[in-house]
Amino acid sequence: MSQTLKFKLETDENARQSPVRLVVVQGEQRPAVEVEDEPQVMTMPHLLVREGIALITFSLLLVLLAIFVDAPLEEMANPQKTPNPAKAPWYFLGLQELLHYYPPLISGVLLPGLVVLALVVIPYFNINLERKALWEENRARKLAYVWVSVAVLSAIFLFTGAHPVWPLVIPLWAVAMVMSLPAVFPQQGRFILWLGNRSLAFWIFLWFLIASVALTVIGVAFRGPGWEYTLPWRDGIY
């Protein structure tokens, strides 16, 4: 780095007299400049052909779907006639299911807001946590932290809502148990080793993912009139 002094930062604005020779190599910021011994191919045709195949296959599937399955259309909107249940589109039914447990301020504003915030900070919050595999050191203390958090979260979701929120709690327990395996059985086989190398963010995201899918599936298929439980194979999908 002592070489740096040889360079002069050009500020003259006449581009003919002081031609700019620009080299920007920001080591860590630009993995593009990393020299790697990777097998490479030409984009044309190798990538373009693959993209073409993906595009055509996907379009074909959609066209077949559109030929054989009609988009739903019910009678004209009628503000006087509330359907029971009145369901939002599928990607909101996880939230609508939460509405069954918590008042709208929590299930409709606070929780979705927190989810979006959590998604945004993932890459920033992850940096410090990723340095070490989770169980590498302080195993006993971390195990205690994890299970105390699980207990607190379970208590919150079991007792603060109008009903116990099992779709959040059961995935929480399942994920926490799998997550703890490497701490309880250290160094037993490749799978446990792989689990042990996952970060905390990985486990939180996994819980979020399973819980969202569970809530959405319940909202789509297992809720009927009055938001009571139904069985889709018995009563159909509302």
Partner: protein, 265 residues
Amino acid sequence: MATSRSILEAITRNRVYRSIVRRGLADTNRNRSLAIFGNFFLHIHPVKVNLRAIAFTRTFYLGGLSAAAFFILVVTGIFLMFYYHPSVPRAFEDMKDLEFVVYMGLFLRNLHRWAAHAMVALVLLHMVRVFFAGAYRPPREFNWVIGVVLLLVTILLSYTGYLLPWDQLAYWGVTVGTNMADAVPFVGEQIKFLLLGGNSVNENALLRFYVLHCVVLPALLVLLASVHIWRVRKDGGIYLGSPGGEEKTSGSKEDDISTESKAAD
């Protein structure tokens, strides 16, 4: 073979063709490079790609397919706009016309509807894929943030479109959602009024959702998706670290754990 090749060559040597494409057949690596960086649409790609980066199982092409779904939605959406009036009760009657009067109208509407559902699903799956690949880490962190905004825009696009048929499903689906706005502390009622142009879902809401759905949100999505895909290149292309967790950044402080993880994979 020989004749079809000579025909192709004759076409590509033609002066008009050259004024548009400026190169001959893509049968040399020079011309193959020109095919990419000499083309406005293709230059989102690098000229050469790592073989591992284009393997189907790395990305499942989920980002690309999200864009493909959006493309299909734009095309079918423009056709639908020719037949649609955002007013009550014309909107609903137009749906009936699409079904019974317009040539291929039902197919058009079906394709738009299924592509819309597919796009939401694909974008969600793309996010999950990126997360489990660990591809959100530096230097790609801001592209992840752009992605989160893209996800929100995609969902809003789908949701504003949901109202347009003006049937019971549309009306009550949107009523359930916009009632949530009431729960926002202090400004809830104002937000809802702003969104709906009234206190409940009515003709003003239909017009607002129509404008958002056909103009504002698609424009925003095109803008953000362009930046997003451009940044994929600028951030060094598709992330090639080991799947699942550990980062493989040569020359960084994390080398010690990445060797361990490679052994584990």
